[in-house]
């Protein structure tokens, strides 16, 4: 069970980049699992089911945030020091992944977090399989373009 909790937290953290929010979402996800009438009865089924709850909760959070932003027009000021410090250890791939849309990020992380199939990812994000393939392809293409646009950080696909 603790493995599930840790994995759930890691996924939530990767999708939100916010430790407090990630924990809140994981706690809420487990509560929803607890009150659910039809909790999957095997571990293999439970994990993706839990991840789907997490993804839905993150969507809910972003929806709430968007509504709040409409009424509280206070622009978030980025801390230039922490931003630059953080950038030092972030790879070009990571940078490129950060620029993806929320939906693209979800698909990418869910696909590679536990090597899920397109079908499993589709179930987790509530899309059809084709939609997931398209979204993933587009996301990977954008990452590639971003990396190639970064000086000295392109993918070394050709033998030197």
């Amino acid at each position: 069970m603790r493995q599930s909790e840790a994995a759930a937290y890691k996924l939530a953290m990767m999708l939100t980049r916010n430790p407090g929010l990630a924990e809140e979402i994981v706690q809420e996800a487990f509560v929803r699992a607890w009150v659910a009438q039809r909790t999957p009865q095997t571990y293999d089924e439970f994990r993706p089911w839990l991840y789907r709850i997490i993804v839905n909760l993150i969507h809910d959070h972003h929806r709430r945030e968007a509504i709040e932003r409409r009424y509280v027009a206070e622009p978030a000021v980025a801390d230039p020091v922490s931003q630059s410090e953080r950038r030092l250890d972030i790879s070009a791939v990571s940078e490129a992944m950060n620029r993806l849309s929320q939906r693209e990020r979800e698909v990418v992380y869910l696909r590679f977090f536990e090597n899920a199939s397109h079908r499993q990812v589709a179930r987790m994000v509530g899309m059809n399989e084709v939609g997931v393939r398209v979204l993933l392809h587009r996301a990977l293409k954008r990452i590639r373009q971003a990396i190639e646009a970064t000086p000295d950080m392109g993918l070394h696909t050709k033998a030197v």
Partner: protein, 429 residues
């Protein structure tokens, strides 16, 4: 694109590995979950009717099967040679008509004098378990309650037994059926829970009982004094400070759906609930779900350090999926609790469990932090199928500990002389 895919996959894994979850995440999740209410499951009238018909058929089939099983068990009990070194002193009672007790019990007054109940009999020791004497047969004991040096009660399937000579001789004081647990804060005043969740009170040492009004079913009962007591059951915990006249709710649960379908106790008379107060402030409430599937046989441990004002959900390892197996009091080896919790101090307790996972066999798990963490100690192997271990008990008095269990064919007694660190086991029957 393949290189991008690989690079992204590696980046996700790198990021995943770099994230560490908060150290008390598990505990905070459990606390949050423990306060969540499960909505009642609703089914249509057609399904109810089909279900009711199915239950009638199943009960009929089960009764038929149980009679056959009972006959087989009785035959097996009498055919099995006794391999224990314990001598049988006397057995004056008529041949047993009571089915084999598959939830053996053990209770010790002090390090020397103790009682065990297994099969259909009670045995007694006065030399710290080196030798045992049969003191009563044809009895199915569910709990021993030691009140004073000579004064001890046995809660049985057929009523209450009392002994005024430390368990040597027994007499039936009351034939109140289906008692599952009792607590005697004094020799005369006692409280007993029935299989249907009723709470009874006696003021004459158990000769007569009268029902008390409570708002929740009582399947476990613990009284510190004739006035101060607690009850626990699938709907919650209540406490009284006036001897049971008035009760106040301390915790609300929703475990009804997890109880055995046929009623609130299983076929062995186990309600799954137990409550243990080490003093007026500190105590444990434990609930085990006796599910037939391994991962459903989960244990929930609650603890209070303030007399029950707050009951904290104490979780340890457990199987998934939720909701049934929230907390199994095991440190590393998931297993099934088979013996009710033995409280050995304000924050310490022992529990007996059988494991089918990782390392197989019988374990005594101990906690010294009120059930938050458990340390497992392998005490014995089993004859094969750990899932057949249906019941047992563990107790510790003055640094000596005993554990008793039934593995589907034999009863075993294990003894530890060093505060449950090392154990030796004998076969009882």
């Amino acid at each position: 694109m393949k290189d991008v895919t690989r690079a992204v996959s590696e980046e996700v894994q790198r990021e995943r590995a770099s994230i560490t979850s908060p150290p008390d995440l598990h505990r905070r999740i459990m606390q949050r979950v423990s306060t969540a209410q499960r909505p009642p499951e609703s089914i249509g009238w057609r399904r109810q009717a089909v279900l009711a018909f199915g239950i009638v058929l199943l009960v009929g089939a089960a009764a038929l099967g149980a009679n056959r099983l009972r006959a087989n068990e009785l035959a097996q009990t009498h055919a099995t040679p006794r391999v224990s070194t314990a001598p049988t002193v006397h057995s004056s009672a008529p041949p047993s008509t009571v089915p084999t007790n598959v939830s053996p019990r053990v209770a010790f007054l002090n390090a020397q004098v103790g009682l065990i109940a297994f099969g259909d009999r009670i045995e007694r020791t006065t030399d710290a378990g080196r030798s045992w004497s049969v003191v009563r047969t044809s009895v199915d004991v569910r709990q021993f309650v030691w009140i004073a040096t000579q004064d001890v009660r046995a809660v049985t399937a057929e009523g209450l037994l009392a002994s005024s000579d430390g368990g040597l001789h027994w007499r039936v004081t009351n034939r109140e059926a289906d008692l599952t647990a009792a607590s005697f804060p004094s020799s005369m005043i006692g409280f007993a829970a029935t299989a249907s969740g009723q709470l009874l009170k006696t003021t004459d040492g158990g000769e007569t009982f009268s029902p008390l009004h409570i708002d929740v079913p009582a399947l476990a009962v613990a009284f510190q004094t004739p006035q101060l007591g607690w009850i626990a059951g699938p709907n919650g915990i209540e406490a009284t400070s006036d001897g049971g006249t008035s009760w106040r709710r301390q915790a609300a649960f929703d475990f009804v759906g997890s109880l055995p379908a046929a009623g609130q106790v299983d076929v062995n008379g186990n309600s799954g609930w137990s409550i243990h107060m080490s003093d007026a402030m500190h105590g444990f409430v434990v609930f085990q779900n006796f599910g037939t599937v391994a991962h459903q046989r989960a244990v929930y441990v609650f603890y209070t350090r303030d007399g029950g004002i707050n009951w904290l959900f104490q979780s340890a390892e457990g199987y998934f999926p939720m909701p049934t197996p929230l907390a199994v009091p095991r440190g590393s080896t998931p297993g099934d609790l088979v013996g009710v919790l033995a409280v050995t101090g304000p924050q310490s307790a022992l529990v007996l469990s059988a494991s089918t996972a990782l390392e197989q066999g019988m374990f005594v798990s101990s906690t010294v932090d009120a059930g938050q963490t458990w340390h497992d100690r392998h005490i014995a192997g089993t004859s094969g199928d750990e899932t057949a271990v249906s019941g047992g008990a563990v107790v510790m008095v003055a640094g000596e500990a005993w554990a008793i269990w039934y593995d589907g064919s034999h009863a075993y007694l294990a003894e530890s002389l060093d505060s449950a660190q090392t154990w030796t086991t004998v076969t009882l029957d």
